[in-house]
Every structure is written in C-alpha cells, then in structure tokens.
C-alpha cells in the first residue's frame, strides 16, 4: 500500500531521513516509533505529500506521492491546525467543505463518542478536547490511508484511552490503513499490527507485533531498547 524506495530527506545540512526502504501492507495499523529526532514525523510528512524527498520515491497504491495525494490520505498534524475562533461544529463543517470524502454522519457519531459539543469555540476547549476534535476531523474522512502524527502526546490517560478506542471503533481496516507516530507505546501496543523503528533517520527494525511477542517474548518497548543497543554496539 505505502512504499518507500531509497528515500532520503535533507533539511539544509541535516539529514532527517536516510535511505529508507520499506513497504507497508493494506489494512494494518502501523506504528512508527523511535526517540526524538529519529525522523518519525518527517517520514509521515513524506507519506502525506507535505514534503518532497531529496532522493528516492514514495508511492501510495502505486501512485507517486505529491501534494495531491491528500485525496487519498487523511493527515493529523501534531500541531493545533484549527481556527481558534470557529466552534467545534464550524470546524467540522469547514472540513466537510474542503474534502469531498468527508462523512458528516460519521463525524457526528465520533463527536458523540468523544462527548464533544458542537457549540463550543475551539479556543475555549481544553487541550484534551482539542486533541479529540482533531481525531474527529481525521477519522471522519472515508480515505484509504490515515496518518496520525503524535495523536496522544501531552494528553491525560483518559483522553488517550478515548482516542485509542475511537480509533478502533471508527477505522475500517477492511478499507483503510493507519500509520501512527508515537512515544506512548504502551497505550497503542495492543492496537498495532506492525512497528517500524527509526534511529537517526535510519530504519533499524520493522516487525509484526505478535511476532515480537511469540518469537522473542518481548513487549514493543523492550524490543525497541534491544534494537537500539544492538545498533550502538
């Protein structure tokens, strides 16, 4: 579904992503993990067509990725990307006006699930509820690929749980593929099919989570530490 072929991304002198090659199958939930600055967000932005690779090619469903890939990809930014003066309802309506594939009924259902009110202004929301609004807008689109950059970071455990549950409830894995970057591995561990581990912009491991458990009897965090140590040696 998503393919990277010798992809590098350089910001001036800094090599953010270094010669990445991998392929992610359809219908999976994939986690991109790794320490700060390991290239997780850059990798996700390359999939979203928000930045261009310096070298190499990225394709989704066989199509080379450029800015227009947003027709197939729903992207959740780690930043607050919404107008503060809009209400929750206006934000959703604005999203609907921008994307033909936006499913208004689904949006209402997720809104209800997240216990959000349409009338409240975005700037008056708590950080947790702003995080929830982002989830509503991202998951309400009927697109083949959903990308989420740090959807859980800086949020309390209850909000994190509601986001993970929302993800399970509203993503259709028969038609959709999900890629998440995260530090909150414990929270999403049971939801991931595959993890992709980065260090210093390089891919140092890609593995099925159930394999890590059965073959090595490790959780993702332990596996990650082990891989990191092996690379350092």
């Amino acid at each position: 579904m998503i393919q990277f072929h010798h992809v590098s991304k350089r910001y001036l002198t800094h090599l953010a992503v270094d010669d990445l090659s991998f392929s992610l199958p359809q219908g999976k939930v994939v986690g991109i993990v790794g320490e700060n600055g390991s290239g997780k967000s850059t990798t996700l932005k390359l999939m979203a067509g928000l930045i261009k690779p310096t070298r190499g090619t990225v394709t989704i469903a066989g199509q080379p990725v450029d800015r227009r890939i947003c027709r197939m990809v729903s992207y959740l930014s780690e930043l607050d990307a919404y107008y503060p003066f809009f209400t929750v309802g206006e934000t959703i309506d604005f999203y609907k006006s921008q994307f033909a594939d936006f499913d208004a009924e689904k949006a209402e259902a997720i809104l209800k699930f997240m216990d959000l009110k349409r009338e409240v202004k975005v700037k008056h929301l708590s950080k947790g509820n702003r995080g929830r609004v982002k989830i509503v807008c991202t998951l309400a689109r009927n697109v083949p690929v959903i990308l989420m950059d740090e959807p859980l970071s800086g949020l309390d455990p209850m909000v994190r749980e509601s986001i993970v549950k929302g993800l399970i409830s509203f993503v259709d894995l028969e038609k959709q593929t999900v890629v998440i970057t995260t530090h909150e591995i414990k929270e999403v561990e049971h939801v991931l099919d595959t993890v992709l581990l980065l260090k210093g912009g390089r891919l140092i491991g890609i593995e099925d989570v159930e394999n890590i458990r059965s073959a090595q009897q490790l959780g993702i965090v332990e596996w990650m530490k082990q891989r990191y140590e092996r690379v350092e040696e």
């Binding site: 219908g27 549950k165 399970i168 894995l173 049971h190 991931l192 099919d193 458990r213 059965s214």
Partner: protein, 127 residues
C-alpha cells in the same frame, strides 16, 4: 478495558484462552453468539485484525462456528466442548506439576498436599 494482556504470548492466543475459559466456566453457553469482531475489539481494547485472528483460530479448533451474515457462535457440539474442558484441565495440571517438580517436590508429596488442601477447603466451606 478488562484484564490486561502480557507480553509473553501473542495477544490472539491470550484472547483464545480467555474465551475458552469463559466457555468452560459456562459464562458462554453452547450456541451463544460472540460479540462481533469490532465490538470485541472495542471491549478488550485491541486491534480488530487480532480479534479476527482469534476467531479464526477458535474456528479451526471447532470451538466456534461462523454463520454467514449472522456472526460467530459457540459450538453446540458436546464432544468438542467436553474435549476443551479436558484440555484446559490437562494444561493447568501440567503447569502445576511442572512448577512443583522444578522446586523438587515428589509426586507423592504433590498428591498428599493436594488432597489435604482440598479436604481442608471442603471442611472450611462447611463451617
């Protein structure tokens, strides 16, 4: 989110065992309908693909049947359920005996200890 999962075994196997225990305990009766894949995924907080794999595994074991368009049901085949009951018993006994042997207890000591424990427990229950 119910009981937590541990890292030693794949989650789909842990879920298979959990459902088997519910069947042996009769919390799930023959012919009962299991939650849909998505409902189960939300209930236990795991990936729907993993639940799918769990149901497939249970189906291979003959413990559940999938009826097209209706869902997944616990089998009404008495033999299969009796075998499952035996299998769960065997596996518990096996791990008990293995742990006791590792600590150096003999078979006689295990039998004697188990008997005494059960007698005492029965007596205690009466009071």
């Amino acid at each position: 989110m119910g009981e937590a999962f541990h890292n030693l075994t794949p989650i789909y196997i842990q879920l298979v065992e959990r459902i088997n225990r519910q069947i042996v305990r009769q919390d799930l009766k023959p012919g009962d309908k299991l939650p849909s894949v998505r409902e189960m995924a939300i209930q236990v907080g795991i990936n729907p693909n993993t639940v799918q794999r769990t149901y497939r595994e249970l189906e291979l074991m003959g413990i559940v049947e999938t009826r097209r368009g209706q869902g997944t049901f616990v089998t009404e085949n008495k033999q299969v359920l009796e075998k499952l009951r035996e299998m769960m018993k065997e596996s518990r006994i096996e791990s008990f005996v293995r742990e006791m042997s590792e600590m150096g207890y003999s078979a006689e000591e295990m039998m004697e200890g188990l008997n005494r424990y059960l007698r005492r427990k029965k007596g205690g229950d009466k009071e």
